[in-house]
Subunit: 348 residues, 3 copies
């Protein structure tokens, strides 16, 4: 594809975007990271700190931020460029022009075991050794990769993809345009045990899990169903690998949870909340809309909308940065304090 | 079911329990969380802090603690109620009256691949695409969901359930009345490597994993087998999702481990120990009977029986609470200390 | 096997090793941990702190360190012994003499579904219900356990083992002599989303994952592929259970990562790096050759080659030990500081 054509297709919504090709209109044959790009590649940088990369890249074209110095640099090196306020978004759009994700043909493999009471929509791909149990409803253009198991009474919305070896448990409701990655378990039994004299009395988990439209769940994550009612993840929330969402959690829209995050039972998370890697939310924790927890944070109480918290136990991020800086001086502070006590004649 | 019938069936062991229906004997058709309950539902609250919920619930019946104010409140609102010292247990018993967990019929699916030397008990359900290898012994009334793989020489006790896509490795011994959830790996190879000049020399893991009766293991958890001897989880211990138990660990009876807990190799855990979410126990750590580690705690040494520890590195919980409270004042303390030093003429 | 024969086969490379059998040449029938060993067993200890175990073990033979006191002790108890500078390595070699890991016969199970365009080498074992998709190339003597799913265009090198229910995603390249444990996902889609007004714009992950020769990946771990380019784990690196390696990470040779470690996108890890359990490496973190992060450490910046770091945020291990020791005295320090302020007449 000619660079000029490509430039018309990406960053189209960004009226501030510019594009130029100082040395002819190069043929773009693929996308690459800037340090790996070769002739014919389009690449991108996100800010002026990447000037050194621009000075030596072999890319034929670049997506740049709205930064005149970088633009001049690219022009001088005779690299075609597009400048936009969102270079990463434009690069994502560019990848989609060159890369077609693997998608099996809409066929039902003869080794799939589908219960006669299950309903399957149109143009559905069902891979080898998939098991679909009683009362399941599968929408249109759904793609179910091999060895997926779907327990009874599950609903799967249109255009949703279930990757290999994931398991969808009884009564789960998965919306449209969702992606469940390999090995994830949706609607699995919540961890409900009441302590009794002999050990633990099992509380049956009679509820179900709901994933609204556009939710993604990463590899080997689990989203449990509760004793009564529902666990819910609202639309467009994206969940990375090995995330645990316990029974009865309520997660808002358009959140992002990085890998190995854990939510204890009944946790409430607002809209557009961001949880970085290995964050834990304890029983009763709440995160308001737009709140952020940085990596490894342990949240116990209520995080206000828009607040960023860090540390364990979680504190406002600015306080965390200050306290962490002082933490390294604790041994020195301890010695100083001892010395002052001696000086004042009151060490015990 | 009439409320009066239901009241006879739950909390039966609790002699202090009371039950009354101030406005006729309502028909109970299901159970629900108190904020979601509608007419015909039974719900529960655990303490007086839920008085506001009792004041507005639409539930027809409630399980209450032994709290006269709540009881009076329910009576005034003409809600039938049962009062007991263990409302959560009674609610768990009530759920079991209304909810029948999904259980496949005791049949062996024709697509299951079972080695001729395997022994399978009576009334066993074996789902589609299950693989059972040489020398495996399956007890009676076992339920094996689709796509489970059982390696050679495994034993599975009576009435145990193996959920979809879990894997039971060679020589593992799983007791009776166990539940292994989707994607869990039992008896997998321990992480045994000896550092050598070229990298790592693999120590073969010739041992096996034992789960005693009544153990549950959550989705995508793994309990490894050791180089020699056994990894053991004693009876009635309950393990949540994505828990890692390394080779050679010895875990006692009736413990509970929340999600994403990790036990390093050879860790010893006593009876009735509770490990909250994302706790880590390092090599050589020990937890005495009844000890508790709160969420995200990192344990290195020996936790005494009955002790509660928190933080990383783990300290007694009370000390942790105090130290955490001071942590937030570290920046302020540092400034104060500097000021005192200047005042005393000895800042360097 | 006679002890004398066994002694010739292990620790052969260690010229400093010694062996003696003070009471005849015992027949060794197996290996065991020292506290569980019975007559006919070979066991080992790693240092003088295990003298009490040597004094009471029922083992017929021991592998000892180069410690004369322990050797005398064994001789006195008429236990045959081998002394070496690396007892654990010698014990690993001894296990391999007695234990033959389970390995299925080199046959292709009739229920496996193999795309006609896939190429399969010689002496390959392919288990029941395995799915191998278009364009896959499988080397010689590969062992693929049941219910594994391999997406299109994957390469698997000679003598590699894929355990049950693992999933290898499109274009992944797995070297020779690798082991992928049950439920692991290799080459799965990286977590790539660009924030936009409506939520998140998906960045397609057009790259692939490379595992070089001799890499092991534990149960239910995931190693994602990036948007462009590759995620790479270099040769002989060993990865435990439930480890997350995000898109675009570059991991060096002969590293070891314990369970539940998480690497954020684009992290760079040098050669022979050791990451203990539950360590997290944030975006942009780097670990130099030979660096070590102790359990639960959270690394944000650049760890120098050979450095050991601990804590969250990570600091040099020695500083961490000192600061942790003082941490417990924070409440006391706070009180002391208040008292000094009062004494100096300047408390506010």
């Amino acid at each position: 594809m000619k660079f000029s054509q490509l430039a018309q297709q990406i960053a189209a919504a960004d009226r501030t975007s510019l594009a130029t090709h100082p040395n002819g209109d190069p043929e773009i044959i693929g996308v690459a990271a800037i340090e790996e790009a070769t002739s014919g590649n389009l690449s991108y940088v996100e800010g002026s700190k990447f000037a050194a990369e621009v000075s030596k890249t072999a890319a034929s074209a670049l997506i740049l931020p709205l930064d005149e110095a970088l633009q001049t640099q690219a022009t001088t090196r005779q690299i075609a460029w597009i400048a936009t306020s969102q270079p990463r978004l434009a690069f994502a759009q560019a990848i989609a022009l060159f890369y077609q994700p693997f998608r099996p043909a809409p066929e039902i493999h003869p080794t799939a075991v589908i219960h006669p009471s299950a309903q399957v929509g149109e143009e559905v791909a069902i891979g080898a050794h998939v098991v679909i149990q009683a009362g399941v409803k599968i929408g249109n253009q759904v793609c179910i990769h091999p060895n997926v198991v779907i327990y009874p009474e599950v609903k799967v919305g249109d255009r949703t993809t279930l990757h290999a070896n994931c398991v969808i448990h009884e009564r789960a409701q998965i919306g449209s345009n969702c992606v469940i990655h390999s090995g994830a378990a949706i609607g699995s039994e919540g961890f409900g045990f009441v302590p009794v004299r002999e050990g633990w009395f099992k509380m049956e988990q009679s509820g179900y899990t709901v994933l609204e439209d556009g939710v993604e769940v990463g590899c080997n994550s689990a989203i449990d169903r509760p004793a009564v009612g529902e666990t819910r993840v609202a639309r467009n929330t994206k969940i990375d690998n090995m995330v645990h969402i316990a029974h009865g959690c309520q997660v808002g829209e358009a959140c992002a949870m990085a890998a190995q995050v854990g939510l204890a039972g009944g946790v409430k998370v607002g809209n557009r909340v961001i949880l970085a890697g290995q964050v834990g939310l304890a029983n009763g924790a709440q995160m308001g809309d737009g709140a952020i927890a940085s990596a490894k944070t342990g949240v116990h109480g209520n995080v206000l909308p828009g607040e960023t918290v860090s540390g364990y136990p979680a504190v406002p991020h600015r306080l965390y940065l200050k306290a962490s800086a002082v933490y390294n001086r604790l041994p020195e502070m301890y010695q100083t304090l001892k010395r002052l006590q001696r000086q004042l004649g009151n060490d015990s």
